[in-house]
């Protein structure tokens, strides 16, 4: 026997549904690089605005203890002591980075360059959407410049190595949000509808 739902009960149900939707929005904006979102439907408006965090706390880098500055050649090379430790990075609003973020790591030892030549623009910038196989940087080793291809796709959140700095095997070079690589095809499909 099906119980008839009282009016009071169905009102409560609608509220719960809306609350769930709001929660979903909050999660969406929390994880995405969105400053403001306005949602409007059937006369209902929901506005989200991200609070500005302390810019100094936005990111922290871990420095290696090293005194490589002594006894070096005349032109001191930037050492690996400035390499970014992902586990210590803080995202916006002082929260840790989303777990879904991935990194593209170096499979070589050498010097990182963002473009194939000094007079050329960087192959990749922050906020670019990259595809697997796309050329993203150049690593120089033993006087040979090797173009490096991305092993994963997504949106570039941050470039973790400075131009002209050394990289070691396994070092994180690019911070990627893989969510965006999946997003693009869905939007395209919707447009065709």
């Amino acid at each position: 026997m099906v119980k008839k739902k009282s009016k009071h009960h169905s009102n409560k149900k609608i509220e719960t549904k809306e609350l769930l939707q709001i929660k979903e929005f909050v999660n969406l904006i929390k994880d995405a690089d969105i400053m403001e979102l306005l949602w409007e439907k059937d006369g209902t408006k929901i506005s989200f605005k991200r609070g500005l965090g302390n810019p100094e706390e936005e990111k922290r880098l871990v420095n290696r203890e090293s005194d490589t500055s002594e006894g070096q050649s005349e032109t001191p090379q930037p050492g690996l002591e400035t390499k970014t430790d992902i586990s210590q990075m803080i995202g916006e609003e002082g929260r840790p980075l989303p777990e879904k973020y991935k990194t593209i790591k170096s499979s070589m030892v050498g010097t990182f360059y963002s473009s194939p030549a000094e007079d050329q623009p960087p192959l990749v910038k922050v906020k670019d959407i990259i595809k697997p196989g796309q050329k993203i940087c150049v690593i120089e080793a033993m006087k040979i410049m090797r173009e490096i291809s991305a092993d994963k796709g997504g949106r570039v959140v941050k470039i973790l190595v400075e131009n002209g700095h050394p990289v070691e095997y396994g070092q994180d070079m690019f911070l990627i949000d893989p969510y965006y690589e999946e997003e693009v095809p869905k939007v395209a499909r919707k447009r065709h509808k």
Binding site: S73, Q77, G79, L80, V109, G110, Y169, Q171
Partner: protein
């Protein structure tokens, strides 16, 4: 002198080199695989670079990544340690072309001495006694048969590109020769990339006696007191001592001069070792030359007070050899036991495991060369050596007593080790009398079990 040295190795030898450099005021760069990221050598060096994943051929044998690591850190020299790229001619050549000093002899010497057959020829030409055998490699089975009849069985078939006891077969009679040659050829091809083999007379129950030599670029070469490395299992050294109980001062001079003659014949520089086989009659024969610093070098360091790694670095930097042959003294007896993560009760089966806790022996005359630390895991990628335990005593009896004491103090939790095996050897009557040869382990220790 070098400003910065990159150590292309791991474990205890990497530490050894870093220590020598530190005392000399030279900056150090450690390279490591991902499996070794918490290793001691990465912590002791001034800088460290990850060069690849665990497997050796992707890390410690990865020449481009190692050279690149030297370039980005500004290292002006690379010390290859032992094993890995230490006797790799191509690596020495790449270092040279990148203006990085390879701490070792020239690539020509490495190439010549790396080919065991060519080395034999060079020694024969120089008047160094060699084991009777083939002039060069054996092109056909018939040549092998003819020669074996001439030098008389038993004979040994050896791989030309082999070494360290690998790629050899002892043949007792003519019937077994053909098979032995063919098996050796295919094994050699698989292991060393060359199927060339040569033939030597088999010396029964020989002692393995080797001489450390030091040479500078001006051609000055001296020898240091010999090491007796007869205690071996499957041609892998387990225990070494200096001086040899079978060598008196007259024989030492004779063998030492032969070692210097051998080194001079190939214009050897830095440090190296000439290995001889010494038979029961006091006759000795050149076996092979090792163009690297060896595992057992501490035994010589304790016996004559020469820091071999520092000497190696100085000689590689072009300094003059500042030691005189007649000033080299022997200050007692030294013994080294190689402690491996192997189960001596199960045919020395390598044991995996994590060293949860340990107590190292100490006290007078005890030296430990090790890369272990609490929580160190024996890696499946690399050799199973845990530590080298070396002792020095005023005489051989004291050295043995000291080694027994030290082995008793050594505690290792978490892995099985060869410590009990070494204790058994020290207690063995023949060993204590100094009556050992390369069959010792087989005859005395295994038969007793």
């Amino acid at each position: 002198m070098f400003k910065k040295v990159l150590i292309a190795n791991r474990g205890e030898i990497a530490l050894r080199i870093i220590r020598a450099c530190r005392e000399m005021g030279i900056k150090t760069v450690a390279v490591h695989s991902e499996a070794d990221k918490d290793s001691l050598h990465t912590k002791f060096a001034d800088e460290s670079i990850c060069i690849g994943p665990g497997p050796s051929d992707e890390s410690y044998l990865n020449i481009p990544n190692i050279i690149s690591a030297a370039e980005i850190t500004g290292a002006d020299a690379i010390h290859p340690g032992y094993g890995f790229l230490a006797e790799n001619t191509y690596f020495a050549e790449v270092c040279e072309s990148c203006n990085i000093t390879f701490i070792g002899p020239s690539k020509e010497v490495i190439l010549k001495m790396g080919d065991k057959c060519k080395a034999r020829k060079a020694m024969e030409k120089a008047g160094v006694p060699i084991i009777p055998g083939s002039r060069g490699t054996i092109p056909k089975i018939d040549d092998a048969l003819k020669l074996a009849r001439k030098i008389k069985y038993p004979v040994v078939v050896k791989a030309s590109a082999g070494g360290g006891g690998k790629g050899m077969r002892i043949v007792q009679n003519e019937e077994a020769l053909k098979n032995a040659v063919m098996t050796c050829q295919s094994e050699a091809k698989a292991a060393f990339g060359s199927e060339e083999v040569y033939l030597e007379k088999y010396i029964p129950e020989p002692r393995h006696v080797e001489f450390q030599i030091l040479g500078d670029r001006k051609g000055n070469i001296i020898y240091l007191p010999e090491r007796d490395c007869s205690i071996q299992r499957r041609h892998q050294k387990l225990i070494e001592e200096s001086p040899s109980p079978a060598v008196n001062s007259k024989l030492r001079r004779k063998m030492g001069h032969a070692a210097v003659k051998a080194a001079k014949a190939v214009k050897y520089t830095t440090v190296g070792t000439i290995e001889f086989l010494l038979d029961k009659n006091g006759d000795f024969y050149f076996m092979e030359m090792n163009t690297r610093i060896q595992v057992e070098h501490p035994v010589t360091e304790l016996v004559c007070g020469v820091d071999l790694v520092k000497m190696q670095i100085r000689l590689a930097a072009g300094e003059k050899l500042n030691l005189e042959q007649d000033k080299i003294k022997i200050y007692g007896n030294a013994i080294e036991c190689r402690i491996n993560a192997e189960d001596p009760d199960k045919d020395f089966l390598p044991c995996a495991g994590t060293i949860s806790n340990y107590i190292l022996p100490g006290g007078p005359g005890v030296r430990i060369d090790t890369g272990i630390y609490p929580g160190y895991t024996i890696s499946p990628f690399y050799d199973s050596m845990i530590a080298k335990l070396i002792v020095i005593g005023n005489n051989r009896q004291e050295a043995i007593a000291r080694m027994e004491r030290a082995l008793g103090e050594f505690v290792l939790d978490g892995v099985k080790s060869t410590i009990p095996f070494h204790a058994k050897v020290m207690a063995d009557e023949s060993y204590r009398k100094g009556e050992v040869n390369t069959n010792f382990i087989q005859e005395r220790i295994f038969k007793q079990a």
